[in-house]
Amino acid sequence: MRRFFLILLALLFISSCAGEKEPTLKVSMSLSDEEWDVIKTEVLPPFEKANNCKAEEVQIEAGDLPQLLRATIAAGKSEIDVFAQDNMQLSVLVDEGLVEDLSAYRNILPKQSEKSLIQAGEFNGKLYFLPYRPNVQIVYYNVDAFKKYDLSPPKNWDELLHVAKTFKEKEKVGRILLKAWGNGPTVTQLYELIVSAGGDPFSFNDEGCVKTFEFLQELWPFTSPDSLKAKWNTSNDYIARESVYLMQNWPFGINIIVEEYEKKNIATYHGFAGPKREAHVIGGEVLGVPKGAKNKDLALKFIKYLQSKEVQQILMEKLSWPSMRTDVYGEVSGWRKPYYKSVMEALEYGVFRKNVPYWADFDRFINEAFQRIVIKGEDVRSTLDHYAGEMKKIVKE
């Protein structure tokens, strides 16, 4: 018996000495369930095998990441090694010193990267974030509904208003979906429309802004009542259940609407132009490394891996995510091809939102302006003048 325990003890000792424990790379992203499925099954396993490590995924919403990093960095316990973050929520991370300066690692960027996407990760001449996936909204529409009333997908605001009025008149309920939920979805939509009208969204009361809000006030009575609950995830349900016939949303909806819901009668196109031009906000995510990350080298390897042609192709095929690489676009085939064509065309009209430190105040003011003018019907000019004044005070501070 004594010999048995001695042998057991010896074996335990040997096994504890035999080789180092594999490192764990903690990856934070904000994804839907469908998106996580692809990341967990097709993207992470090859990286884990090639680098003899374990990748632990964490779901953290874009709005929660700054708070989490503040708390963990202050406690000296960085719990995330690499994160993917909305490209519009980067300023606070840089301003508060929550992320590593990656300027010394420009060499890991593939030569085939879209140049404009690299600039989105630069602040004050330093590179803090590396490109990962750009994103742009496209317009989804119900082909059968448009055919039924002899309508064509609108190419400009006048045609959009005509389509909205026609559907309302024929079906007694609005069938055009605006993203009126509030916060990010509404802001992105307004930003695009204002730029399309030749305005500067941060001015609030230039002619482009006034035209945009006047148009939305006119359009609102003919839009779907579901608009008040429409954001990036709920919008797909509305068009799939055919309670709306036209909406704008991110390309990930293609997989849900066409593949999961099997709605083959939903087509897409790049979108409609405003009085001055067509403009679509380039959203998407970039990759960063938190200050004091435990596995910084492994994190950089992971970033390089995500930017590789193989992974970018998986993300494009499985999730309909536009790629950050110029050499991936031609590889789409099959039923996805026409949908991806819409994404490529929309990207040609792409505009970046300005990364400003007072984005949260701008978000609040433009949402309130939308509520007051479009939903409650208040006077356009006086309301916009009020928020123009408020914005000027914030910018001066």
């Binding site: 579901d226 309130e368 509520q371």
Partner: protein, 280 residues
């Protein structure tokens, strides 16, 4: 010098008091203190002034009070009626078990399911359309009185069973001899209700209203999932102030106001119901 039995009382109470201090008293105190601060430092009432000047806060304030008053009144009425029906036991107990089912369903699931009923193309509109009661679908969830009604119905479905349990416990404590004596004197059901049941049920109704009132004031995920931002309540407002606009000061101020509203409502109710007991 304390007797040894007092040391044991302190010993057993200490963990709870410590827990309440660390996880309740300190966070609440810090939040109240934060509500009087601003980014530039110093103490100020400006957060509160800003709240009352903000139209979305005023709407959320009115919505929260409206939901609380309407939901409590309807839940009390419904829960009391069900409890009266079930009391006495027998086969009615099966109904009690069925009525308790909604309590076990997470609120977010209830909200998601209610959207299938109240959405523009939801079941309710479809039924009303097929019955030719409406031609155009009703916007139940676009804000206003209709959304208030929808949120209250959804809340009632979920939490009336809890109120019913409390009232049922009260009803079953009423001595049967009182009813026998009343019937000998020829009393009707309504007289029994007015002179026996309601007076003796007062403590239980107070408890039910306070427990549910606190919960209803704090309502959060149900209106958010059901109606989005078209129908904000105070807790949502506080949440979005912190999460979306990175403003812990106004978030703390709206949270503090909510806390004060609940405290004042409970104290007023206890005082009023206590005064009525004295005059009786």
């Amino acid at each position: 010098m304390l007797k040894s039995k007092h040391y044991w009382k302190i010993f057993f109470l200490a963990p709870l008091l410590l827990y309440l201090t660390i996880f309740t008293l300190i966070p609440i105190s810090r939040s109240i203190f934060l509500s009087f601060q601003q980014k530039s430092g110093g103490l100020t009432f400006s957060n509160y002034a800003w709240l009352f000047s903000n139209f979305q806060f005023r709407e959320a304030f009115v919505n929260t009070i409206s939901i609380t008053i309407l939901a409590l009144a309807l839940e009390l009425l419904l829960a009391f009626s069900i409890a009266l029906f079930i009391t006495g036991g027998g086969k009615k107990r099966i109904l009690q078990a069925l009525i308790l089912i909604p309590l076990g369903i997470p609120t977010i699931v209830v909200a998601s399911n209610m959207r299938y009923i109240f959405d523009t193309d939801g079941f309710l509109n479809q039924i009303l359309t097929r019955l030719h009661l409406i031609e155009i679908p009703i916007n139940w969830l676009s804000g206003g009185a209709l959304t208030l009604f929808s949120v209250v119905i959804a809340d009632m479905w979920k939490v009336t069973p809890l109120m019913m349990l409390i009232l049922l416990a009260g009803l079953e404590r009423i001595p049967k001899e009182l009813f026998e004596a009343a019937r000998i004197d020829g009393s009707s059901f309504w007289q029994e209700l007015r002179f026996i049941i309601l007076p003796l049920m007062k403590p239980f109704m107070t408890m039910a209203l306070i427990i549910r009132g606190i919960d209803t004031f704090r309502i959060f995920e149900l209106p958010l999932a059901l109606a989005g931002e078209s129908f904000k309540v105070l807790s949502e407002f506080a949440f979005f102030e912190y999460r979306n606009y990175n403003n812990p000061y106004t978030a703390a101020a709206s949270g503090t106001l909510l806390f004060v509203m609940i405290l004042v409502s409970v104290l007023i109710y206890i005082r009023v119901s206590g005064a009525q007991k004295e005059t009786a």
